[in-house]
Amino acid sequence: MGNKQLCTVMELEEVIHEFGDMVYRLAYSYCRNKFDADDIFQEVFLKYMKKDSAFESDDHQKAWLIRVTINCAKSELTSFWKRNVVEMKGEITLTDPDDLYLAEILQQLPQKYRIVIHLYYYEGYSTDEISELLGKRPSTIRTQLTRARERLSLLMEEDSVCLKTAIEE
């Protein structure tokens, strides 16, 4: 193991300033719950604080944060108490009806598809890059992306039929 150079609080502030929203969006895309996303955000940056080696580049740093966010998200949803005492929606406040509609559709996608969708469409990674980030074969990522798109179109189609029926009634 190399020289232990723990990150200072000031450095952490800079990293949060640069990557905080990226981490938060990724966490939220996985769990679609504000409370879980908050927990994951904290966990990721506390892990970052404890990391004891330097990054080769900004891309390397970003990739590390993405991997840790996904790992934290997975363990957040399996390791902590399921918050089902009181129904807590914990959704981010979206005001635009189109955004609300899209958020609702995305909610119905399995988590693994949401992550691939987010990394591809928002972070702009290629399927090969996503496969490296997630430790899966490129063919698996391509299949997941195709299935996610198919599922999204189907959900949107079903939704427009419901809307049409409601209008007709």
Partner: protein
């Protein structure tokens, strides 16, 4: 078009100022706690060593005493319906070895191995066998569904620790710890639905997530639980101590997830606690139900606990 809509929606998803400030505050506090790192490392080492001893003795079925170094071993009953039962998916096999528990916590001991005897690595996923890493750097994530029917609408927290020494590349042993957020009664049975087996490997400080197998395996564990427990009511809060854990029930949060917790025993000794989980119920943004459960690394006599110390603040239970 989808891309544009997705981008626009996500622009509104940001970390709040409050969250950022809280995270930095937590980091500052953790930084101060680094002074205590040697003690923390010592505790971790003791747990790993205990785990190694456990792995060697596992075939006896009476493994609790090896995890738990105490003079007073509580008489737990075996809970596994069919110890030795295996579930197989592809080349991966999970074998249930033993389980013990009380009304708030279950420990389940199981092995993961390959039927063919091949090393436990994901197909084409990583060139590195798990055994090349230190056992302490490996975590096995299970996706576990537990029947909530008997839990009064509450939930279950789970964590897992690998306890073998990694000497057999085709086999690993784990203890799964389940902590129930219950209203006083343990469920009569637990159904573990394992959706996938993931290994998170620390390779040169890089975390790699390796999926070993995906599937849908189920094991049902049923039996009687040990119901020894002592309850203390202090103000509006209830402190419930069992041989394996302490739970606090309150209408307000008494501590944070990362708080340092110790138990003070009647002989003056103290015991640090890890594996803390909490759960809150909210109404209009205000906590109305709060529960914390912390699991011990050794079995205790609940009657011997005289106080709980949270972040240095002592709460007397006697």
């Amino acid at each position: 078009m989808f891309e544009d809509s997705y981008r626009r929606m996500n622009e509104n998803v940001t970390a709040s100022r409050d969250l950022i400030e809280k995270t930095i505050e937590l980091a500052q506090r953790r930084n101060k706690r680094h002074k205590h790192a040697p003690a923390a490392i010592l505790v971790a080492l003791i747990l790993v060593l205990s785990g190694t001893a456990l792995a060697a003795k596992v075939t006896t079925g009476d493994w609790l005493g090896f995890v738990i170094n105490t003079d007073k071993i509580v008489d737990f009953q075996e809970l596994v319906t069919n110890p030795g039962e295996s579930i197989v998916c592809g080349d991966y096999r999970i074998t249930l070895r033993s389980a013990v528990g009380d009304d708030s916590t279950y420990f389940i001991l199981f092995d993961l191995d390959t039927v063919s005897g091949k090393p436990l690595i994901g197909e084409d996923l990583t060139p590195m066998p798990i055994s090349d890493s230190l056992p302490a750097d490996i975590y096995l994530n299970h996706f576990i569904n537990t029947s909530y029917d008997d839990l009064g609408g509450w939930g279950v927290a789970s964590s897992v620790i690998r306890i073998d020494d990694g000497s057999n590349p085709a086999k690993a042993s784990f203890i799964q710890c389940l902590q129930f957020s219950n209203s006083g009664q343990a469920p009569e049975w637990i159904k573990l639905s394992v959706k996938s087996i993931d290994a998170i490997i620390n390779d040169n400080n890089e975390q790699q997530n390796v999926i070993l197998a995906e599937g849908d395996w189920q094991i049902v564990i049923s039996g009687q639980t040990n119901t020894d427990r002592v309850e203390h009511r202090i103000g509006d809060s209830i402190f419930r101590v069992t041989p394996l854990s302490i739970s606090i029930y309150s209408n307000t949060a008494l501590m944070e997830m990362n708080s340092g917790i110790k138990l003070e025993m009647d002989d003056g000794s103290t015991m640090s606690i890890s594996e803390v989980s909490d759960l809150s119920g909210f109404e209009d943004g205000i906590i109305t139900d709060w529960q914390m459960t912390a699991v011990f690394s050794s079995v205790i006599d609940p009657e011997q606990v005289v106080a709980i110390i949270i972040d240095g603040e002592r709460i007397s239970l006697k």
